[in-house]
């Protein structure tokens, strides 16, 4: 764990030769890592090509699969360009996408904004935990989708009912992770802070507990984003008058599978982009967390 940092050795055993050797070894390791990542990119691109190619061959060249069952990929592309600025069931493709994004981001940000502070407070103040936890435990097992009927009753079929349901679905992991992260604060670090002159609870929370919980909190945000997307589509399929899920539902009724798949692809791509963005943000916010997977 310690010997791999070349500069490490400077004071520990001072042998110049050893420093050089570790440097070389370090560089070698970086090199192999580079090669490995290049290989990975090639493999990933290949796999996409193979899947798309197989799809094309099955539907267009061999015609084993009827287009009503699985339309060929080029149909999806044409539909994409066709619907970009042509209205379909009330909105253009961009319009539907924006409605969905608005709902997802609205619900998600509200969840982050309310869930994280609440989780932190529950983790830090025993009294707040005692007040909030029973309610939370009771409501938590209810799947967010089970709230849809009630939220329709409360907010109507517009976007607020869906924002509410999505807020719920992203809220739960935000609260749980913030709570857990704070509770996992290393007591030794609290002791260290106390011995360095921190006196107020608030300073301990701000300077020790929150930073130490941050990686766990961001993990909760990532989970929250995932469940926000998941809930979005289900909510839109069930009850809405716009959005990607609504568009897909209408396309099913009109027997237009290529539009269904188009909707799925857009959801997949947007979800992946947002997850990736969040990952990069995490790296910026927590530069001290060594990522072992990546």
């Amino acid at each position: 764990m310690t010997e791999d940092a070349p500069k490490t050795l400077l004071y520990e055993n001072g042998a110049e030769g050893k420093i050089c050797l570790t440097n070389i070894l370090g560089n070698l390791m970086v090199e192999t890592r580079k090669i490995r990542s290049r290989k990975r990119v090639i493999l990933s691109v290949l796999s996409v090509i193979v899947v798309l190619g197989g799809w094309f061959v099955l539907t267009t060249v061999l015609r084993w699969v009827p287009p009503a069952f699985l339309p060929p990929p080029q149909n999806i592309l044409t539909d994409f360009f066709r619907l970009l600025n042509k209205s379909y069931v009330g909105h253009t493709l961009i319009g539907h996408t924006l409605v969905s994004l608005q709902i997802v981001l609205g619900g998600f940000f509200l969840a982050v904004l309310i869930g994280i502070p609440l989780g932190i407070m529950m983790g830090w103040f025993k009294r707040i935990e005692a007040i909030v936890d029973p309610m939370f435990q009771l409501l938590r097992p209810i799947p967010p989708l089970a709230w849809i009927p009630l939220s329709l009753l409360w907010f109507g079929i517009g976007i607020s009912s869906k924002i509410f349901v999505i807020w719920l679905s992203a809220f739960v992991p935000c609260v749980i992770n913030a709570y857990t992260g704070i509770r996992l604060t290393e007591p030794l670090l609290v002791k260290a802070a106390l011995g360095l002159g921190v006196k107020r609870q608030w300073d301990l929370l701000r300077e020790v507990a929150i930073p130490s919980a941050l990686p766990v909190i961001l993990g909760g945000v990532r989970i929250g984003l995932g469940s926000a997307w998941m809930t979005l589509v289900a909510a839109e399929l069930l009850a809405s008058d716009a959005g990607l899920g609504y568009m897909m539902q209408m396309a099913r009724r009109a027997l237009e599978p290529s539009i269904i798949i188009l909707g799925m692809l857009i959801i997949g791509i947007l979800g992946a982009i947002m997850a990736r963005g969040l990952q990069m943000l995490e790296k910026r916010i927590c530069p001290w967390v060594m990522d072992k997977e990546r």
Partner: protein, 267 residues
């Protein structure tokens, strides 16, 4: 008479565990003078950490009181800086920010803080690592940061709980020499805990041997005052451990500790 820097007056500490009370420190009395380097050595589990936490104000005694400069210690304070075996650096702060941490709470202005942090990072020989994060450092370097962090914070007394216990033997020797040197350069009152007899004799002005749990003081040896190892602070570690005076003292201390381990069967 000069007032004691630290005075522990018949201190007992116990832990509550499943309705049972476990006595960790038993009726210990100790006074420490300003500028003294006191080492407490004893078998593991004997209550060394507990006693030190009591001095730090992190643990309350069930009987007895602890005073600093005549005032009773009731809680943790920046006046008693602690170095832990497990470093306890803030992983989200750089080396610089870790060392700076306590200074912010003393209300020292930014420019002055920077000067102080620089000085102590230099003292622990970590120039160039100011912007590294703890996870980028070796164990020895982490402990250097932790030492700089308390030194910079100017506590009245420094409490070190087996600070080199997690380090390999080579690193440890160098750290011991450097700490001895720092202590010479900038005299502080230090309470240092270890289970290494060598370390205790090499560093301590006064070495206290603790019994197995519940910990009491078995013997106190005045290494410096009784001039048991002449000229020790000016010699390197190797030279000191090869002195006959050192070996004799070591044999005596080890005999006392071994007796504790064997008698109380805490192996």
């Amino acid at each position: 008479m000069q007032q004691d820097k630290i005075f522990a007056d018949h201190v007992s500490v116990a832990y509550e565990k499943d309705d049972e009370s476990l006595l960790a420190v038993d009726d210990v009395t100790l006074s420490i003078q300003e500028g003294e380097f006191v080492v407490i050595v004893g078998p593991s589990g004997c209550g060394k950490t507990t006693f030190m936490n009591t001095l730090a104000g992190l643990v309350k005694p069930i009987r007895g009181k602890v005073f600093m400069d005549g005032k009773q210690i009731t809680g943790p304070s920046a006046e008693r800086g602690v170095v832990f075996q497990q470093f306890a650096l803030f992983p989200w702060k750089t080396v610089f920010e870790n060392v700076e941490f306590g200074l912010k709470y003393r209300g020292i202005p930014k420019d002055e803080r920077r000067e102080i942090v620089r000085k102590y990072i230099r003292m622990v020989k970590l120039e160039g690592f100011e912007n590294s994060f703890p996870h980028e450092l070796s164990g020895g370097m982490k402990q250097r940061v932790a030492i700089a962090r308390v030194y910079a914070n100017m506590p009245q007394i420094l409490l070190m709980d087996e600070p080199f216990g997690a380090l390999d033997a080579q690193t440890r020797t160098i750290m011991q020499e450097d700490l001895s040197e720092m202590f010479m350069m900038e005299k502080r009152t230090v309470v240092f805990i270890t289970h290494s007899v060598d370390e205790a004799i090499y560093l301590g002005d006064r070495v206290i041997i603790m019994t197995a749990r519940p910990g009491k003081f078995k013997k106190i040896i005045n290494v410096t005052a009784d001039c048991l190892i002449p000229n020790r602070r000016n010699l390197g570690y190797d030279d000191v451990v090869n002195l006959k005076a050192f070996r004799d003292l070591k044999r005596e201390l080890w005999g006392l500790i071994k007796a504790e381990i064997v008698e109380k069967r805490i192996l």
